[in-house]
């Protein structure tokens, strides 16, 4: 809201109070997570409610990194998330472009269908998918996860990409087509360089979503060496009878990529959604 600013002290005070509130609200649980991760085992319960740990240790981290299969879980997750992000972005860019530029028969129906896929609990299809994947012999493979995750993320990613494309004037492709490009060439040479922020945002968004998916990974992967880290983390519960320190340490480590990615791309998300002239 852009009124020419006449600073009223009460407003400014309120504003900074709000800033502080939101910051605390967002960061406190993360801080707590970190706190537990650096608390040595024996102090976890006694230190329980203290805000500042009485002792620091990195032993939880080292234990997680070197004594467990965490690294393999981490790299599996990395492969799956990057693969999903890449594949989804490509497919969603295509679909988003189609929705942005063309008005074709059946467009409304397809959009409605995409909307519906967002509406039902994924639980409903977990059993059929298990059966299909099993019969294809693709259980315990990261590829099957990538394919399934891509399908789940396409609708929202398409919506994002469509917004980004809407922010680019149509006559740029038309000018390129007059200059001798086929539409696809125009897309590649002229439009895509302009949607880099959009592509980045979609990549980051999908990466984050795929990174934390638990249910289907649990269902489709049971062999230890192909587990992704959410599943792996749950094994800590049983293996170490809820070794909280290590679990939180693993959690902190696992947070790092998705948080980094997200911090980087959230600016583009806002930018892209705005320039796409968000329509209801």
């Amino acid at each position: 809201m852009i009124f020419t600013q006449i600073q009223r002290p009460a407003m400014t005070l309120g504003k900074y109070a709000a800033i502080l509130f939101y910051l605390t609200f967002a960061l406190f649980p993360l801080y707590w997570l970190l706190k537990i991760a650096v608390t040595p085992d024996r102090l976890i319960y006694s230190d329980g409610t203290r805000v500042w740990p009485s002792e620091f240790t990195l032993s939880n981290f080292s234990a997680v990194l070197f004594q467990t299969d965490f690294l393999s879980y981490f790299s599996n997750s990395l492969v799956v998330s990057l693969g999903t992000a890449g594949l989804t972005t490509i497919f969603a860019a295509g679909a988003g472009y189609a929705f942005s530029r063309f008005n074709f028969g059946g467009k409304k129906i397809i959009i409605a269908v995409m909307l519906i896929t967002q509406m039902f609990p994924l639980l409903m299809i977990i059993a059929p998918i298990y059966k299909v994947v099993a019969s294809l012999g693709l259980l315990n493979s990261l590829t099957s996860l990538i394919i399934v995750y891509t399908a789940f993320n396409i609708p929202f990613a398409t919506f994002l990409m469509q917004s980004f494309f809407d922010g680019i004037p149509k006559d740029l492709e038309e000018a390129a087509m007059m200059d001798g490009c086929s539409r696809f060439q125009a897309l590649r040479k002229v439009i895509l360089p302009l949607t880099l922020p959009g592509l980045g945002a979609t990549l980051g968004f999908v990466f984050t979503a795929a990174w934390s998916e638990l249910l289907f990974a649990l269902m489709l992967i049971s062999k230890n060496d192909t587990m992704t880290f959410p599943v792996g983390l749950l094994t800590f519960v049983s293996k170490f009878s809820v070794d909280w320190g290590q679990m939180m340490a693993a959690g902190v480590l696992a947070l790092v990529p998705s948080c980094l990615f997200f911090i980087f791309i959230q600016r583009y998300l806002v930018q892209g959604l705005t320039s796409g002239a968000v329509k209801g």
Binding site: I19, L30, F102
Partner: protein, 311 residues
């Protein structure tokens, strides 16, 4: 004067020469097809199969009792008390989550729409909860609510809200608030991002005109900001409501649906039915019922939106 009714080529026209009309009509589908094929294969087909399960009796514990049973699962559903309880919980879960997420998100978006020192850093940090895997945040919040080792019950007691630090998650009347808090923490960034984008797309000169016309801050908010945001709000709220109604991860990890099914929502009920009781048929019926309810809700909201939105 020849007028055509469709974009399609009439028989006898030069199909062999691939008329421009045909090319332009078919073009979008090249871009669209990978996405559609994948969605169709991975989501729609299983959906149809899943729906068909609801008309069968697939109880893995009684493998010889399978077969088509028509609407038997649905009649069982109608008289299942636990289902109705779960439905009621779903309502409260969704209602409070959305309301709190929306208002806190709106406040945050409005805050971010102003200028202040360190705003970029603030924005990056305050959106972080969205990036945290849900089960991890569930665990953390469960920890925070734990009366023995977590701080929140103690603080609430110190503030006078609770009489003594006790296990909120263990109290049937209050347990739902645990997951709701976690959900709000998780969901505020989403609302904030989308509302911020919408706020920033409101043309500044509308506010200037209003100010010249003598509008107060509150009036500008209610007469310019809200109407402009309304379409965006409607769609976002609708989508998030549906998503939250289906979102069982937090509840499952924090309370497991208990105590005494007080935090059991329909989708976590589906999960327990499917994987604890291994009754896929019944679970699918519940899921179909939920889908039906949500679709009705979506249609109502869309109709309302058409009637109310004038911008």
């Amino acid at each position: 004067m020849i007028t055509r009714k469709h974009n399609e080529v009439e028989p006898g026209e030069n199909r062999a020469r691939r008329s421009l009309y045909w090319q332009y009509a078919v073009e979008p589908f090249f871009y669209l097809s990978p996405a559609i094929i994948l969605i169709g294969a991975v989501m729609l087909m299983p959906l149809v199969i899943g729906i068909s399960y609801s008309f069968q009796a697939i109880d893995l514990l009684r493998p010889f009792n399978t077969g088509w049973v028509g609407f038997e699962n649905y009649t069982k559903l109608w008289s299942d008390r636990k289902f109705w309880l779960a439905l009621e919980n779903t309502f409260w879960w969704t209602f409070w989550s959305i309301t709190l997420q929306f208002f806190l998100g709106l406040g945050l978006a409005m805050l971010l729409n102003t200028q202040f020192y360190g705003k970029k850093l603030f924005q990056a940090l305050v959106f972080l909860p969205w990036a945290v895997p849900t089960f991890l945040s569930a665990l953390t919040w469960a920890w925070l609510f734990n009366p023995v080792i977590g701080p929140i019950p103690h603080w609430l007691t110190a503030l006078g809200v609770l009489s003594e630090p006790y296990n909120i998650l263990g109290d049937p009347d209050l347990a739902l608030w645990g997951p709701i808090t976690a959900n709000v923490w998780f969901g505020v960034p989403f609302f904030a991002i989308t509302l911020l984008a919408a706020l920033q797309s409101i043309p500044g000169d509308m506010y200037e005109a209003a100010e010249i016309d003598g509008a107060s801050t509150w009036q500008a908010f209610t007469k310019i900001t809200l109407p402009f945001l309304a379409p965006m709000i409607a769609i976002t709220v609708m989508l998030r409501t549906i998503w939250i109604a289906n979102f069982a991860d937090l509840i499952f990890v924090m309370t497991g649906g208990g105590p005494a099914s007080s935090t059991q929502i329909v989708s976590s009920y589906i999960f327990t039915t499917a994987f604890r009781k291994l009754d896929f048929g019944y679970a699918s019926a519940i899921a179909v019922a939920l889908l039906g309810i949500l679709m009705v809700y979506a249609v109502i909201l869309l109709v309302l939106r058409k009637k109310l939105v004038k911008v």
